[in-house]
Protein backbone atom coordinates (compact mmCIF):
# COMPACT_ATOMS: atom_id res chain seq x y z
CA UNK A 1 0.00 0.00 0.00
CA UNK A 2 1.46 3.35 -0.96
CA UNK A 3 2.09 5.79 1.86
CA UNK A 4 -0.36 8.59 2.29
CA UNK A 5 2.05 11.23 1.08
CA UNK A 6 2.65 9.40 -2.13
CA UNK A 7 -1.09 9.19 -2.56
CA UNK A 8 -1.52 12.90 -1.98
CA UNK A 9 1.25 13.64 -4.45
CA UNK A 10 -0.51 11.61 -7.10
CA UNK A 11 -3.75 13.24 -6.06
CA UNK A 12 -2.62 16.71 -6.92
CA UNK A 13 -0.95 15.39 -10.04
CA UNK A 14 -4.29 14.04 -11.21
CA UNK A 15 -5.91 17.30 -10.27
CA UNK A 16 -3.71 19.10 -12.76
CA UNK A 17 -5.76 18.62 -15.92
CA UNK A 18 -8.95 18.95 -13.92
CA UNK A 19 -7.88 22.40 -12.85
CA UNK A 20 -7.94 23.47 -16.44
CA UNK A 21 -11.62 22.69 -16.61
CA UNK A 22 -12.14 25.05 -13.73
CA UNK A 23 -12.28 22.51 -10.87
CA UNK A 24 -10.43 23.45 -7.66
CA UNK A 25 -6.96 21.90 -7.45
CA UNK A 26 -7.07 20.89 -3.81
CA UNK A 27 -10.10 18.59 -4.01
CA UNK A 28 -9.19 15.48 -5.97
CA UNK A 29 -11.96 12.93 -6.02
CA UNK A 30 -9.66 10.15 -4.76
CA UNK A 31 -8.56 11.87 -1.58
CA UNK A 32 -9.65 11.34 2.00
CA UNK A 33 -12.13 13.77 3.51
CA UNK A 34 -9.40 15.61 5.44
CA UNK A 35 -6.57 17.59 3.84
CA UNK A 36 -3.10 16.06 3.47
CA UNK A 37 -1.43 18.12 6.19
CA UNK A 38 -3.83 16.78 8.83
CA UNK A 39 -2.94 13.31 7.66
CA UNK A 40 0.79 13.99 8.03
CA UNK A 41 0.39 15.01 11.67
CA UNK A 42 -1.79 11.96 12.35
CA UNK A 43 0.88 9.72 10.84
CA UNK A 44 3.52 11.47 12.92
CA UNK A 45 1.63 10.82 16.17
CA UNK A 46 1.13 7.18 15.27
CA UNK A 47 4.51 6.23 13.81
CA UNK A 48 7.19 8.75 14.81
CA UNK A 49 7.70 8.98 18.58
CA UNK A 50 11.04 10.80 18.19
CA UNK A 51 9.42 13.29 15.85
CA UNK A 52 6.71 13.89 18.45
CA UNK A 53 9.39 14.39 21.11
CA UNK A 54 11.08 16.93 18.82
CA UNK A 55 7.75 18.64 18.27
CA UNK A 56 7.17 18.91 22.02
CA UNK A 57 10.61 20.52 22.50
CA UNK A 58 9.84 22.98 19.72
CA UNK A 59 6.47 23.81 21.29
CA UNK A 60 8.09 24.40 24.69
CA UNK A 61 10.61 26.69 23.00
CA UNK A 62 7.81 28.56 21.24
CA UNK A 63 5.95 28.97 24.53
CA UNK A 64 9.12 30.26 26.20
CA UNK A 65 9.73 32.70 23.37
CA UNK A 66 6.18 34.02 23.39
CA UNK A 67 5.77 34.19 27.15
CA UNK A 68 9.26 35.36 28.09
CA UNK A 69 7.97 38.61 29.62
CA UNK A 70 5.41 36.80 31.76
CA UNK A 71 7.53 33.78 32.71
CA UNK A 72 10.40 35.58 34.34
CA UNK A 73 10.39 38.09 37.20
CA UNK A 74 13.65 39.64 35.91
CA UNK A 75 14.52 41.61 32.79
CA UNK A 76 17.04 40.12 30.39
CA UNK A 77 19.43 43.04 30.85
CA UNK A 78 18.64 43.60 34.53
CA UNK A 79 21.95 43.62 36.38
CA UNK A 80 22.49 43.15 40.07
CA UNK A 81 26.12 43.48 41.03
CA UNK A 82 25.43 42.19 44.53
CA UNK A 83 24.44 38.82 43.04
CA UNK A 84 27.27 38.28 40.56
CA UNK A 85 28.32 34.78 39.50
CA UNK A 86 25.92 33.09 41.90
CA UNK A 87 25.22 29.39 41.70
CA UNK A 88 21.77 27.80 41.61
CA UNK A 89 19.41 29.25 44.22
CA UNK A 90 15.70 29.74 44.85
CA UNK A 91 15.89 33.28 43.49
CA UNK A 92 18.02 32.34 40.47
CA UNK A 93 17.25 28.77 39.39
CA UNK A 94 20.14 28.52 36.97
CA UNK A 95 22.43 31.03 38.69
CA UNK A 96 23.67 34.41 37.51
CA UNK A 97 26.41 35.74 35.22
CA UNK A 98 29.25 38.22 35.75
CA UNK A 99 26.84 41.17 35.85
CA UNK A 100 24.36 39.43 38.13
CA UNK A 101 21.86 38.83 35.35
CA UNK A 102 19.53 35.88 35.86
CA UNK A 103 20.61 33.05 33.53
CA UNK A 104 17.20 31.39 33.27
CA UNK A 105 15.69 34.69 32.18
CA UNK A 106 18.37 35.16 29.57
CA UNK A 107 17.93 31.62 28.27
CA UNK A 108 14.17 32.09 27.97
CA UNK A 109 14.67 35.36 26.09
CA UNK A 110 17.38 33.63 24.07
CA UNK A 111 14.75 31.22 22.75
CA UNK A 112 12.93 34.25 21.39
CA UNK A 113 15.92 35.53 19.45
CA UNK A 114 16.83 32.05 18.16
CA UNK A 115 13.32 31.49 16.86
CA UNK A 116 13.04 35.02 15.53
CA UNK A 117 16.24 34.72 13.52
CA UNK A 118 15.53 31.07 12.67
CA UNK A 119 12.00 31.51 11.35
CA UNK A 120 12.81 34.84 9.71
CA UNK A 121 15.80 33.48 7.86
CA UNK A 122 13.97 30.28 6.87
CA UNK A 123 10.95 32.18 5.56
CA UNK A 124 13.12 34.48 3.49
CA UNK A 125 15.39 31.62 2.41
CA UNK A 126 12.56 29.29 1.40
CA UNK A 127 11.05 32.04 -0.72
CA UNK A 128 14.39 32.72 -2.38
CA UNK A 129 15.13 29.01 -2.86
CA UNK A 130 11.70 28.50 -4.43
CA UNK A 131 12.05 31.43 -6.81
CA UNK A 132 15.61 30.45 -7.79
CA UNK A 133 14.96 26.70 -7.93
CA UNK A 134 11.61 26.68 -9.72
CA UNK A 135 12.62 29.58 -11.96
CA UNK A 136 15.84 28.03 -13.21
CA UNK A 137 14.26 24.59 -13.56
CA UNK A 138 11.30 25.95 -15.49
CA UNK A 139 13.13 28.22 -17.89
CA UNK A 140 16.36 26.23 -18.10
CA UNK A 141 18.86 27.13 -20.80
CA UNK A 142 21.45 29.83 -20.41
CA UNK A 143 19.93 31.46 -17.31
CA UNK A 144 20.02 28.10 -15.54
CA UNK A 145 23.61 27.46 -16.56
CA UNK A 146 24.90 30.79 -15.21
CA UNK A 147 22.83 30.74 -12.05
CA UNK A 148 24.05 27.22 -11.31
CA UNK A 149 27.72 28.21 -11.74
CA UNK A 150 27.04 31.05 -9.30
CA UNK A 151 25.53 28.57 -6.83
CA UNK A 152 28.58 26.31 -7.31
CA UNK A 153 30.86 29.21 -6.46
CA UNK A 154 28.84 30.09 -3.37
CA UNK A 155 28.89 26.48 -2.16
CA UNK A 156 32.67 26.27 -2.58
CA UNK A 157 33.09 28.61 0.37
CA UNK A 158 33.02 27.40 3.91
CA UNK A 159 29.68 29.00 4.80
CA UNK A 160 30.97 30.27 8.13
CA UNK A 161 33.90 32.16 6.56
CA UNK A 162 31.64 33.78 3.98
CA UNK A 163 28.99 34.70 6.56
CA UNK A 164 31.64 36.08 8.92
CA UNK A 165 33.02 38.25 6.14
CA UNK A 166 29.63 39.61 5.11
CA UNK A 167 28.50 40.27 8.68
CA UNK A 168 31.75 42.00 9.53
CA UNK A 169 31.19 44.29 6.55
CA UNK A 170 27.52 44.89 7.39
CA UNK A 171 27.97 45.14 11.15
CA UNK A 172 26.17 42.96 13.71
CA UNK A 173 22.42 43.39 14.15
CA UNK A 174 19.39 41.11 14.38
CA UNK A 175 18.09 42.26 11.02
CA UNK A 176 21.44 41.81 9.26
CA UNK A 177 22.02 38.30 10.56
CA UNK A 178 18.48 37.26 9.62
CA UNK A 179 18.88 38.63 6.09
CA UNK A 180 22.33 37.11 5.58
CA UNK A 181 21.36 33.69 6.92
CA UNK A 182 18.18 33.76 4.83
CA UNK A 183 20.00 34.55 1.61
CA UNK A 184 22.65 31.89 2.33
CA UNK A 185 19.97 29.30 3.09
CA UNK A 186 18.07 30.23 -0.07
CA UNK A 187 21.05 29.91 -2.38
CA UNK A 188 22.17 26.61 -0.84
CA UNK A 189 18.78 24.94 -1.00
CA UNK A 190 17.72 26.21 -4.41
CA UNK A 191 19.54 23.13 -5.78
CA UNK A 192 17.21 20.70 -4.05
CA UNK A 193 14.08 22.60 -5.10
CA UNK A 194 15.43 22.85 -8.64
CA UNK A 195 15.97 19.09 -8.79
CA UNK A 196 12.40 18.34 -7.76
CA UNK A 197 10.95 21.01 -10.05
CA UNK A 198 12.92 19.55 -12.97
CA UNK A 199 11.26 16.15 -12.61
CA UNK A 200 7.80 17.64 -12.14
CA UNK A 201 8.23 19.84 -15.18
CA UNK A 202 8.58 16.72 -17.34
CA UNK A 203 5.16 15.31 -16.39
CA UNK A 204 2.60 15.18 -19.16
CA UNK A 205 0.08 17.23 -17.20
CA UNK A 206 2.46 20.19 -17.36
CA UNK A 207 2.82 19.67 -21.10
CA UNK A 208 -0.96 19.37 -21.35
CA UNK A 209 -1.48 22.62 -19.51
CA UNK A 210 0.97 24.38 -21.82
CA UNK A 211 -0.76 22.90 -24.87
CA UNK A 212 -4.10 24.19 -23.65
CA UNK A 213 -2.63 27.67 -23.54
CA UNK A 214 -1.78 28.22 -19.87
CA UNK A 215 0.84 30.91 -19.36
CA UNK A 216 4.10 30.46 -17.46
CA UNK A 217 2.67 31.96 -14.28
CA UNK A 218 -0.38 29.72 -14.28
CA UNK A 219 1.64 26.57 -14.99
CA UNK A 220 4.15 27.23 -12.22
CA UNK A 221 1.57 28.43 -9.70
CA UNK A 222 -1.07 25.73 -10.17
CA UNK A 223 0.89 22.72 -11.40
CA UNK A 224 4.52 22.92 -10.31
CA UNK A 225 4.39 24.78 -6.98
CA UNK A 226 1.82 22.55 -5.24
CA UNK A 227 3.97 19.52 -6.03
CA UNK A 228 7.20 21.19 -4.89
CA UNK A 229 5.56 22.30 -1.64
CA UNK A 230 6.26 19.11 0.39
CA UNK A 231 9.96 19.40 -0.50
CA UNK A 232 9.98 23.06 0.50
CA UNK A 233 8.42 22.18 3.88
CA UNK A 234 11.01 19.43 4.44
CA UNK A 235 13.94 21.64 3.46
CA UNK A 236 12.65 24.42 5.71
CA UNK A 237 12.14 22.27 8.82
CA UNK A 238 15.43 20.42 8.53
CA UNK A 239 17.14 23.74 7.81
CA UNK A 240 15.87 25.40 10.99
CA UNK A 241 18.36 23.60 13.23
CA UNK A 242 21.25 24.53 10.94
CA UNK A 243 20.22 28.17 10.85
CA UNK A 244 19.83 28.33 14.64
CA UNK A 245 23.23 26.70 15.09
CA UNK A 246 24.87 29.06 12.59
CA UNK A 247 23.35 32.08 14.31
CA UNK A 248 24.76 30.77 17.59
CA UNK A 249 28.24 30.28 16.05
CA UNK A 250 28.24 33.81 14.67
CA UNK A 251 26.99 35.33 17.92
CA UNK A 252 29.61 33.24 19.73
CA UNK A 253 32.27 34.97 17.63
CA UNK A 254 30.70 38.37 18.32
CA UNK A 255 29.47 38.84 14.75
CA UNK A 256 25.83 37.94 15.24
CA UNK A 257 23.32 39.52 17.58
CA UNK A 258 24.91 42.40 19.51
CA UNK A 259 24.71 42.61 23.34
CA UNK A 260 22.91 43.22 25.65
CA UNK A 261 20.25 41.18 23.85
CA UNK A 262 20.69 37.59 25.05
CA UNK A 263 21.40 34.82 22.54
CA UNK A 264 22.58 31.35 23.42
CA UNK A 265 25.66 31.66 21.23
CA UNK A 266 26.48 35.05 22.68
CA UNK A 267 26.06 33.77 26.27
CA UNK A 268 28.62 31.03 25.57
CA UNK A 269 30.93 33.46 23.91
CA UNK A 270 34.65 33.95 24.14
CA UNK A 271 34.08 37.29 25.81
CA UNK A 272 32.75 35.63 28.97
CA UNK A 273 35.26 32.78 29.05
CA UNK A 274 37.31 34.23 31.91
CA UNK A 275 34.27 34.35 34.21
CA UNK A 276 33.23 30.83 33.32
CA UNK A 277 36.11 29.40 35.33
CA UNK A 278 34.34 30.74 38.42
CA UNK A 279 30.85 30.06 37.17
CA UNK A 280 30.75 27.06 34.82
CA UNK A 281 26.95 27.15 34.72
CA UNK A 282 27.33 30.23 32.52
CA UNK A 283 28.68 27.90 29.83
CA UNK A 284 26.68 24.77 30.57
CA UNK A 285 23.09 26.05 30.50
CA UNK A 286 23.24 27.92 27.18
CA UNK A 287 24.98 24.88 25.65
CA UNK A 288 22.22 22.60 26.98
CA UNK A 289 19.49 24.92 25.70
CA UNK A 290 21.10 25.11 22.28
CA UNK A 291 21.59 21.33 22.07
CA UNK A 292 17.97 20.71 23.06
CA UNK A 293 16.66 23.14 20.49
CA UNK A 294 18.80 21.67 17.71
CA UNK A 295 17.81 18.14 18.79
CA UNK A 296 14.12 19.11 18.72
CA UNK A 297 14.27 20.65 15.27
CA UNK A 298 16.39 17.77 13.93
CA UNK A 299 13.94 15.14 15.14
CA UNK A 300 10.89 17.04 13.93
CA UNK A 301 12.54 17.69 10.57
CA UNK A 302 13.65 14.07 10.14
CA UNK A 303 10.18 12.75 10.89
CA UNK A 304 8.52 15.23 8.55
CA UNK A 305 11.01 14.33 5.84
CA UNK A 306 10.25 10.62 6.15
CA UNK A 307 6.53 11.31 5.96
CA UNK A 308 6.53 13.96 3.24
CA UNK A 309 9.41 13.15 0.93
CA UNK A 310 11.15 9.81 1.40
CA UNK A 311 13.39 10.52 -1.59
CA UNK A 312 15.40 13.02 0.46
CA UNK A 313 16.19 10.47 3.18
CA UNK A 314 19.87 10.41 4.13
CA UNK A 315 20.50 13.53 2.09
Amino acid sequence: MPSSTRASGTGSALAGPAALAGAPVAAPALARPWPWYVDVWAQMLRRKPLGVAGGVIVLVMLAAALGADVLSPYGYAETSLRERLQSTSAAHWLGTDQLGRDLLTRIVYGARISLYVGFGAIALGSLLATILGVGTAYFGGRVDLWVQRGVDAWMAFPALLLLMTILSLLGPSVLNITLVLGVAFGIQNSRIIRGVALTIKEHTYVEGARALGSGHVRVTATHILPNVLPTIIVVATTGLSTVILTEASLSFLGLGVPPPYPTWGGMLSLAGLDHMYQAPWMAIWPAVALSLAVFGFNMLGDALRDLLDPRLRGG
Binding site: A153, P158, L270, L273, G314
Partner: protein, 315 residues
Protein backbone atom coordinates in the same frame (compact mmCIF):
# COMPACT_ATOMS: atom_id res chain seq x y z
CA UNK B 1 39.78 8.39 -17.56
CA UNK B 2 42.16 11.11 -18.73
CA UNK B 3 39.35 12.78 -20.62
CA UNK B 4 37.19 12.69 -17.53
CA UNK B 5 39.93 14.29 -15.45
CA UNK B 6 40.40 17.01 -18.06
CA UNK B 7 36.68 17.69 -18.22
CA UNK B 8 36.37 17.92 -14.45
CA UNK B 9 39.32 20.31 -14.27
CA UNK B 10 37.75 22.33 -17.08
CA UNK B 11 34.51 22.62 -15.10
CA UNK B 12 36.36 23.76 -12.00
CA UNK B 13 37.77 26.80 -13.83
CA UNK B 14 34.49 28.72 -14.29
CA UNK B 15 33.61 27.90 -10.68
CA UNK B 16 36.91 29.36 -9.50
CA UNK B 17 36.33 32.41 -11.67
CA UNK B 18 32.95 32.99 -10.03
CA UNK B 19 34.52 32.44 -6.62
CA UNK B 20 37.08 35.16 -7.25
CA UNK B 21 34.42 37.57 -8.55
CA UNK B 22 32.25 36.89 -5.50
CA UNK B 23 35.10 37.56 -3.08
CA UNK B 24 36.16 40.65 -4.97
CA UNK B 25 32.65 42.06 -5.28
CA UNK B 26 31.84 41.49 -1.61
CA UNK B 27 34.26 44.14 -0.38
CA UNK B 28 33.12 46.64 -2.97
CA UNK B 29 29.36 46.17 -3.20
CA UNK B 30 28.49 45.88 0.49
CA UNK B 31 26.70 48.85 1.96
CA UNK B 32 29.08 50.56 4.37
CA UNK B 33 32.49 51.67 3.20
CA UNK B 34 35.41 49.35 3.92
CA UNK B 35 37.77 52.29 3.78
CA UNK B 36 35.85 54.27 6.40
CA UNK B 37 35.94 51.27 8.73
CA UNK B 38 39.64 50.65 8.20
CA UNK B 39 40.59 54.28 8.80
CA UNK B 40 38.23 54.88 11.72
CA UNK B 41 38.63 51.48 13.32
CA UNK B 42 42.34 50.84 13.00
CA UNK B 43 43.81 54.09 11.65
CA UNK B 44 45.58 52.30 8.84
CA UNK B 45 45.94 55.65 7.01
CA UNK B 46 45.70 59.36 7.91
CA UNK B 47 42.86 60.16 5.49
CA UNK B 48 40.18 58.28 3.60
CA UNK B 49 41.67 59.33 0.28
CA UNK B 50 45.13 58.01 1.18
CA UNK B 51 43.61 54.71 2.28
CA UNK B 52 41.57 54.45 -0.90
CA UNK B 53 44.64 55.08 -3.01
CA UNK B 54 46.68 52.61 -0.99
CA UNK B 55 44.09 49.87 -1.49
CA UNK B 56 43.80 50.81 -5.16
CA UNK B 57 40.09 51.50 -4.71
CA UNK B 58 40.37 54.81 -6.61
CA UNK B 59 40.67 52.98 -9.90
CA UNK B 60 37.91 51.31 -11.99
CA UNK B 61 36.73 47.95 -10.63
CA UNK B 62 37.80 45.84 -13.60
CA UNK B 63 41.34 47.24 -13.42
CA UNK B 64 41.52 46.39 -9.72
CA UNK B 65 40.21 42.89 -10.32
CA UNK B 66 42.68 42.19 -13.13
CA UNK B 67 45.56 43.46 -11.01
CA UNK B 68 44.56 41.30 -8.08
CA UNK B 69 44.04 38.14 -10.13
CA UNK B 70 47.03 38.94 -12.37
CA UNK B 71 49.30 39.25 -9.34
CA UNK B 72 48.08 35.90 -8.02
CA UNK B 73 48.37 34.05 -11.33
CA UNK B 74 51.68 35.46 -12.54
CA UNK B 75 53.65 36.11 -9.34
CA UNK B 76 51.77 34.20 -6.68
CA UNK B 77 51.26 37.57 -4.99
CA UNK B 78 48.16 37.61 -2.81
CA UNK B 79 48.80 41.11 -1.45
CA UNK B 80 50.07 42.21 1.95
CA UNK B 81 48.45 42.31 5.34
CA UNK B 82 47.67 45.78 6.70
CA UNK B 83 48.33 44.72 10.26
CA UNK B 84 51.69 42.97 9.88
CA UNK B 85 52.72 44.36 6.48
CA UNK B 86 53.79 40.82 5.58
CA UNK B 87 52.87 39.04 2.34
CA UNK B 88 49.56 37.23 2.91
CA UNK B 89 50.70 34.07 1.16
CA UNK B 90 53.74 33.64 3.47
CA UNK B 91 51.60 33.99 6.57
CA UNK B 92 49.00 31.60 5.15
CA UNK B 93 51.63 29.01 4.24
CA UNK B 94 53.23 29.25 7.68
CA UNK B 95 49.91 28.74 9.46
CA UNK B 96 48.36 26.19 7.12
CA UNK B 97 50.01 23.11 8.69
CA UNK B 98 48.30 23.83 12.03
CA UNK B 99 44.85 23.95 10.42
CA UNK B 100 45.60 20.94 8.26
CA UNK B 101 46.72 18.94 11.29
CA UNK B 102 43.60 19.92 13.21
CA UNK B 103 41.38 19.01 10.25
CA UNK B 104 43.11 15.65 9.70
CA UNK B 105 42.98 14.73 13.39
CA UNK B 106 39.32 15.76 13.54
CA UNK B 107 38.48 13.68 10.50
CA UNK B 108 40.46 10.78 11.96
CA UNK B 109 38.55 10.95 15.24
CA UNK B 110 35.16 11.28 13.55
CA UNK B 111 35.91 8.49 11.05
CA UNK B 112 37.21 6.06 13.69
CA UNK B 113 34.17 6.64 15.91
CA UNK B 114 31.62 6.99 13.11
CA UNK B 115 32.76 4.03 11.03
CA UNK B 116 33.15 1.68 14.02
CA UNK B 117 29.76 2.49 15.50
CA UNK B 118 28.25 2.46 12.01
CA UNK B 119 29.57 -1.04 11.27
CA UNK B 120 28.34 -2.43 14.59
CA UNK B 121 24.95 -0.79 14.07
CA UNK B 122 24.58 -2.19 10.56
CA UNK B 123 25.82 -5.70 11.28
CA UNK B 124 23.71 -5.98 14.42
CA UNK B 125 20.73 -4.15 12.92
CA UNK B 126 17.83 -3.54 15.36
CA UNK B 127 19.79 -4.87 18.33
CA UNK B 128 20.25 -2.88 21.52
CA UNK B 129 23.72 -1.84 20.32
CA UNK B 130 22.18 -0.49 17.13
CA UNK B 131 19.66 1.64 19.02
CA UNK B 132 22.29 2.99 21.40
CA UNK B 133 24.51 3.86 18.44
CA UNK B 134 21.73 5.62 16.59
CA UNK B 135 20.67 7.67 19.61
CA UNK B 136 24.30 8.66 20.23
CA UNK B 137 24.62 9.76 16.62
CA UNK B 138 21.55 11.98 16.94
CA UNK B 139 22.88 13.45 20.18
CA UNK B 140 26.27 14.11 18.57
CA UNK B 141 24.48 15.93 15.75
CA UNK B 142 22.67 18.17 18.20
CA UNK B 143 25.52 19.28 20.46
CA UNK B 144 27.16 22.47 19.17
CA UNK B 145 30.90 21.85 19.02
CA UNK B 146 31.81 25.29 20.32
CA UNK B 147 29.52 24.82 23.32
CA UNK B 148 31.13 21.46 24.04
CA UNK B 149 34.58 23.03 23.60
CA UNK B 150 33.85 25.78 26.13
CA UNK B 151 32.49 23.25 28.62
CA UNK B 152 35.55 21.01 28.10
CA UNK B 153 37.88 23.96 28.69
CA UNK B 154 36.03 25.23 31.74
CA UNK B 155 34.88 22.15 33.66
CA UNK B 156 38.27 20.49 34.36
CA UNK B 157 39.44 23.82 35.71
CA UNK B 158 36.71 23.62 38.33
CA UNK B 159 36.64 19.90 39.05
CA UNK B 160 40.40 19.44 39.35
CA UNK B 161 41.39 23.03 40.09
CA UNK B 162 43.63 22.70 37.09
CA UNK B 163 43.78 25.10 34.20
CA UNK B 164 45.71 23.71 31.30
CA UNK B 165 47.87 26.24 29.53
CA UNK B 166 46.96 26.34 25.88
CA UNK B 167 50.29 27.27 24.38
CA UNK B 168 50.81 25.89 20.95
CA UNK B 169 53.93 23.78 20.30
CA UNK B 170 54.85 22.97 16.70
CA UNK B 171 54.83 19.30 15.69
CA UNK B 172 58.42 19.60 14.47
CA UNK B 173 59.54 20.85 17.90
CA UNK B 174 57.94 18.23 20.05
CA UNK B 175 55.50 15.77 18.47
CA UNK B 176 54.23 14.51 21.83
CA UNK B 177 53.56 17.98 23.24
CA UNK B 178 51.96 19.03 19.99
CA UNK B 179 49.59 16.05 19.90
CA UNK B 180 48.67 16.61 23.55
CA UNK B 181 47.48 20.10 22.67
CA UNK B 182 45.84 19.22 19.35
CA UNK B 183 44.03 16.12 20.58
CA UNK B 184 41.58 18.03 22.80
CA UNK B 185 40.11 20.25 20.08
CA UNK B 186 40.28 17.36 17.60
CA UNK B 187 38.37 15.08 19.99
CA UNK B 188 35.72 17.70 20.77
CA UNK B 189 35.20 18.60 17.13
CA UNK B 190 35.56 15.00 15.90
CA UNK B 191 32.99 13.60 18.33
CA UNK B 192 30.35 16.07 17.18
CA UNK B 193 31.11 15.31 13.52
CA UNK B 194 30.98 11.54 14.03
CA UNK B 195 27.16 11.54 14.05
CA UNK B 196 26.54 12.06 10.33
CA UNK B 197 29.39 9.70 9.42
CA UNK B 198 27.91 6.96 11.58
CA UNK B 199 24.47 7.42 10.05
CA UNK B 200 25.68 7.26 6.47
CA UNK B 201 28.08 4.37 7.21
CA UNK B 202 25.23 2.36 8.70
CA UNK B 203 22.82 2.90 5.82
CA UNK B 204 25.49 2.33 3.14
CA UNK B 205 26.67 -0.90 4.75
CA UNK B 206 23.09 -2.16 5.15
CA UNK B 207 22.64 -1.51 1.44
CA UNK B 208 25.79 -3.37 0.43
CA UNK B 209 25.17 -6.30 2.78
CA UNK B 210 21.95 -7.06 0.90
CA UNK B 211 23.70 -7.38 -2.46
CA UNK B 212 24.19 -10.64 -4.27
CA UNK B 213 27.97 -10.85 -4.12
CA UNK B 214 27.69 -10.74 -0.35
CA UNK B 215 25.20 -13.61 -0.44
CA UNK B 216 27.69 -15.49 -2.62
CA UNK B 217 30.41 -14.83 -0.08
CA UNK B 218 28.17 -16.19 2.69
CA UNK B 219 27.33 -19.28 0.70
CA UNK B 220 31.02 -19.95 0.11
CA UNK B 221 31.24 -20.23 3.88
CA UNK B 222 33.45 -17.20 4.49
CA UNK B 223 33.56 -15.94 8.08
CA UNK B 224 31.46 -12.88 8.93
CA UNK B 225 34.48 -10.75 9.76
CA UNK B 226 35.97 -11.29 6.31
CA UNK B 227 32.71 -10.61 4.54
CA UNK B 228 32.04 -7.36 6.37
CA UNK B 229 35.54 -5.98 6.49
CA UNK B 230 36.98 -7.23 3.20
CA UNK B 231 34.03 -7.51 0.85
CA UNK B 232 31.41 -5.05 2.00
CA UNK B 233 33.28 -2.25 3.73
CA UNK B 234 35.26 -0.97 0.75
CA UNK B 235 32.14 -0.38 -1.32
CA UNK B 236 30.20 1.01 1.60
CA UNK B 237 32.93 3.58 2.26
CA UNK B 238 32.18 5.55 -0.91
CA UNK B 239 29.29 7.59 0.50
CA UNK B 240 31.31 8.13 3.69
CA UNK B 241 34.14 9.65 1.69
CA UNK B 242 31.85 11.86 -0.35
CA UNK B 243 30.23 13.01 2.89
CA UNK B 244 33.65 13.99 4.28
CA UNK B 245 34.35 15.84 1.04
CA UNK B 246 31.01 17.63 1.19
CA UNK B 247 31.64 18.55 4.81
CA UNK B 248 35.13 19.90 4.19
CA UNK B 249 33.82 23.49 4.27
CA UNK B 250 32.32 22.69 7.68
CA UNK B 251 35.66 21.44 9.00
CA UNK B 252 37.38 24.59 7.77
CA UNK B 253 34.66 26.91 9.05
CA UNK B 254 34.75 25.11 12.39
CA UNK B 255 38.50 25.50 12.60
CA UNK B 256 37.98 29.26 12.92
CA UNK B 257 36.04 28.70 16.13
CA UNK B 258 38.21 25.89 17.49
CA UNK B 259 41.41 27.83 16.85
CA UNK B 260 39.92 30.89 18.51
CA UNK B 261 38.95 28.92 21.63
CA UNK B 262 42.18 26.94 21.92
CA UNK B 263 44.44 29.74 20.67
CA UNK B 264 45.97 27.61 17.89
CA UNK B 265 47.93 29.78 15.43
CA UNK B 266 46.26 28.37 12.31
CA UNK B 267 44.58 29.82 9.26
CA UNK B 268 41.27 30.06 11.12
CA UNK B 269 42.71 32.31 13.81
CA UNK B 270 44.54 34.30 11.12
CA UNK B 271 41.21 34.89 9.38
CA UNK B 272 39.34 35.71 12.59
CA UNK B 273 41.98 38.18 13.76
CA UNK B 274 42.10 39.79 10.31
CA UNK B 275 38.32 40.28 10.53
CA UNK B 276 38.46 41.85 13.98
CA UNK B 277 41.33 44.11 12.83
CA UNK B 278 39.49 44.97 9.61
CA UNK B 279 42.46 43.72 7.65
CA UNK B 280 40.30 43.23 4.57
CA UNK B 281 43.01 42.37 2.01
CA UNK B 282 43.75 39.31 4.18
CA UNK B 283 40.05 38.44 4.43
CA UNK B 284 39.67 38.67 0.67
CA UNK B 285 42.69 36.53 -0.20
CA UNK B 286 42.16 33.90 2.52
CA UNK B 287 38.56 33.43 1.36
CA UNK B 288 39.80 32.88 -2.17
CA UNK B 289 42.57 30.43 -1.21
CA UNK B 290 40.27 28.39 1.01
CA UNK B 291 37.51 28.21 -1.60
CA UNK B 292 40.05 27.13 -4.23
CA UNK B 293 41.27 24.42 -1.84
CA UNK B 294 37.71 23.15 -1.36
CA UNK B 295 37.10 23.02 -5.11
CA UNK B 296 40.37 21.12 -5.64
CA UNK B 297 39.65 18.72 -2.82
CA UNK B 298 36.19 17.86 -4.10
CA UNK B 299 37.74 17.14 -7.47
CA UNK B 300 40.31 14.82 -5.87
CA UNK B 301 37.56 13.02 -3.98
CA UNK B 302 35.51 12.48 -7.13
CA UNK B 303 38.54 10.98 -8.80
CA UNK B 304 39.26 8.71 -5.82
CA UNK B 305 35.97 6.85 -6.38
CA UNK B 306 37.50 5.12 -9.36
CA UNK B 307 40.07 3.58 -7.04
CA UNK B 308 37.58 2.51 -4.38
CA UNK B 309 35.07 0.97 -6.74
CA UNK B 310 36.51 -0.37 -9.97
CA UNK B 311 33.00 -0.73 -11.35
CA UNK B 312 32.87 3.04 -11.71
CA UNK B 313 34.17 3.86 -15.18
CA UNK B 314 34.48 7.34 -16.54
CA UNK B 315 33.99 8.35 -20.10
Amino acid sequence: MRQYVLRRVGLAIPTLFFVSVLVFAMMRLMPGDVVVRMVEGQAYAPTLEAMRKDLGLDRPAHVQYLEWIGGILTRGDFGTSYWTRQPIWDEFAARFPVTLELALLTILVSVVIGVTVGIVSAVRQNSAADYVGRVLAILALSVPYFGLAVVVVVVPAILFRWTPVWTYVAFTESPAENLKIMMVPALVFGVTRAGPIMRIMRSALLDVLRQEYIRTAWSKGLPERGIVLRHALKNALIPVISLIGLQMPLYIGGSVIMEAIFRLPGVGLFFFEALTRMDYPVVQSVNLIVAALVVGLNLAIDLSYAFLDPRIRYR
